[in-house]
């Protein structure tokens, strides 16, 4: 810690709040500051004020509209996408009994698929090359994982896409299965991977049907990323 990092001096403490908000503190300084931050409302206010000051760096940037595919991925992942007409039940009012039965059958079939939904603690959106969402992978703390096909690009003829968990401890990659081209699939993360999986890389490779026989003979990587925690604890 440098000599001017003295949290007992109000002036230096306020300066440290600025450096904390800016992100320039060393790990030790940050840890010391956060222990104070967790108990002091004054220090919390200092950090909030500094964040307001520093936001001036964002305000000088010229806004740039993102491509439409980004919103599509968000709407799908949050479940806020506009429902297709045949899922809006109001439309079935006034139809004949036969048509209604048919509608009910369709709705029930769809509901069976929806019942597979689960509580999600982590999410990973697998984008197509044009950034539109291909698959959405949701996972819970308990290791339940649900892969939903949104609109994946078709892989090369005779090929499939395989999802892998790449732990950082040097263990060989663990296959989570072949990604479905439509619908969804459930995967259970084995117990021995439970602690590490939220911070592990997820990789999608192009494979022959049946997938790679072992993690050491994987095909070319199409996409790599990590889960995003959907809880608030890592947000600010």
């Amino acid at each position: 810690m440098h000599e001017s990092f003295d949290l007992s001096d109000p002036h230096l403490r306020e300066a440290a709040a600025g450096e904390y908000a800016l992100g320039t503190l060393t790990r030790d300084e940050r840890a010391a500051f956060e222990s104070l931050l967790s108990v002091s409302h004054d220090v919390q206010r200092d950090v909030e004020r500094w964040r307001e000051h520093l936001n001036v760096f964002n305000e000088q940037l010229t806004p740039i509209a993102p491509p439409a595919s980004v919103w599509k991925g968000i709407a799908e992942a949050t479940g806020t996408a506009r429902q297709p007409w045949w899922r809006r039940l109001g439309l079935w009012q006034g139809m004949t009994a036969t048509a209604f039965s048919l509608a009910l059958a369709v709705t029930l079939t769809f509901s069976l698929g929806q019942n597979e939904s689960m509580e999600s603690d982590y999410v990973f959106v697998v984008s197509n090359p044009d950034s539109s969402p291909g698959w959405i992978v949701n996972a819970s703390h308990s290791g339940e994982m649900m892969v939903q096909a949104v609109s994946p690009n078709a892989p090369a003829p005779g090929k499939v896409c395989e999802l892998w968990l790449m732990t950082k401890d040097g263990e060989k990659p663990m296959s989570l299965g072949i990604l479905p081209h439509s619908g969804s699939m459930k995967v259970e993360v084995p117990k021995e991977y439970l602690a590490a999986f939220p911070d592990s890389d997820l990789v999608i490779t192009l494979e022959n049907p049946g997938g790679a026989p072992s993690g050491k003979q994987m095909g070319p990587t199409l996409k790599k990323g990590q889960f995003t925690a959907v809880e608030g604890r890592h947000i600010l």
């Binding site: 320039t24 001036v56 000088q60 993102p66 992942a77």
Partner: protein
């Protein structure tokens, strides 16, 4: 004008906390171009910025209930969240904890020149408080803010003694605070 925009954004965030899909849609329309510009500035790679932008709004949807309008303006809260997600993304790309320039330069994606975006995004007029900083101070603060660099990273990147860089940061922050406090 600014106040009415703030009020609208607060309403959208409250709507998101109630899981109102229309509120998320409106919030996205009102803020995504600002947050996307911020992500492009930090990540310098369009596909990564688009991935992170999705993550930002997925988190907003999950965490809007934590927003407290008495503690932060909406754009500051959103900008802080966006910055954290982007810098976290950069750090997760690093193969180890050592924050060296070489590793940052070698990160997959960030050296993709083809997709590199124009960094000359500054709007015509520099904010008056940023204009108060001297060139060294502004450069050090911008690098730290947009690239998540610590004092030591800054010293390495700017090829300056650690003490000099710390002084630029601290004096730059003091000037910024003094100027911003007068504006409020």
């Amino acid at each position: 004008m600014q106040d009415s925009r703030n009020d609208a954004l607060v309403e959208y965030l409250l709507g998101c906390a109630r899981q109102d899909a229309q509120a998320l849609d409106r919030l996205y329309r009102a803020t995504s171009a600002h947050l996307y510009a911020q992500l492009l500035r930090i990540l310098r790679h369009e596909a990564s910025a688009q991935d992170c932008l999705q993550q930002v709004y997925i988190r907003i949807w999950a965490a809007a209930g934590q927003y407290d309008a008495s503690r932060a303006r909406p754009m500051t809260w959103l900008g802080t969240m966006t910055r954290n997600i982007a810098i976290d993304w950069i750090r997760r790309q690093r193969p180890s904890e050592h924050d060296s320039d070489e590793l940052i330069a070698a990160m997959p994606g960030l050296s993709d020149i083809e997709a590199d975006v124009d960094l000359a995004q500054h709007s015509g007029e520099l904010h008056q408080c940023l204009a108060e900083l001297n060139e060294d101070q502004r450069r050090a603060l911008e690098l730290a803010y947009f690239e998540g660099l610590t004092h030591q990273d800054l010293a390495n990147q700017l090829d300056q003694p650690l003490g000099t860089v710390k002084s630029w940061v601290r004096r730059g922050l003091e000037r910024l605070k003094t100027c911003m406090s007068h504006l409020i």
